[in-house]
Amino acid sequence: MLLIRCPWCGPRDEVEFRYGGQAHIAYPGDPEALSDEEWANFLFMRDNPLGPFRERWYHVHGCRRWFNAVRDTSTHRFVGTYRMDEEPPA
């Protein structure tokens, strides 16, 4: 049961959140200009590093805010969380 620090509510149990996959993947400005392969890349291809990973979380059963996090995929430990409009922690 991870302890996740929502930028508004502070630390809460993992069960209040939903994982949102890789962060900082913007919806393409002009989807129609993309080839099928480029579109499939956007839809389906995600990074899978061992180590710090920038990902999204949703405080679905709390304040219902989306936020970002840097988390180490090998230890599960959060390096930090940051709001949608903030810069990631170093």
Binding site: M1, R12, V15, G62, C63
Partner: protein, 156 residues
């Protein structure tokens, strides 16, 4: 325990969403409660609040808010039927049977509120005073909430 043994409080509830800069009331800090003309204002998010007042006053609350926010993007929605409200006495340990918040009396005090889970039900908790915890729960989850509280009560 049945829902009848728990007396639900009759209250007006109005959901407000707007830019905090244009609110007619002082914005509460996250997960705290302020007052505005005799109503409680619960923080639900950086741009969402629950205004709680006397039963039947939802109309006037809505009007006052809409007047104050006219000209700004805003949402003022009567949600008085959308949640049932229970005021529970001395129930923090019971709530701790299904809620992972830190409800220790030294940490969870009057004026605090939080959205969380009690078992499988989403709840809003508002600590009214030293002894009373106000719980907001969707009506369709109220039976489950009462039953689960009851199950905990038999064991506590």
């Amino acid at each position: 325990m049945t829902t009848e043994q728990f007396v639900a409080a009759e209250l007006a509830q109005v959901g407000v969403r707007a830019d905090p800069a244009v609110l007619p009331f002082e914005q509460p800090q996250p997960n705290t409660v302020t007052t505005w003309k005799g109503r409680d204002v619960l923080w639900l998010g950086p741009d969402g609040w629950l205004v709680v007042g006397e039963a039947g006053s939802e109309g006037s609350i809505e009007r006052e808010l809409k007047d104050a926010l006219a000209g700004q993007p805003h949402s003022v929605v009567d949600v008085s039927a959308n949640r049932i409200v229970f005021d529970l006495a001395d129930s923090l340990d019971l709530l701790g049977s299904g809620c992972g918040l830190d409800l220790d009396r030294s940490r969870w005090v009057a004026g605090m509120c939080a959205q969380s889970l009690f078992g499988g039900a989403q709840v809003i908790l508002h600590q009214l005073d030293e002894r009373t915890t106000r719980v907001f729960v969707r009506p369709s989850f109220a039976d489950y909430f009462v039953d689960r509280l009851g199950a905990a009560n038999r064991l506590i």
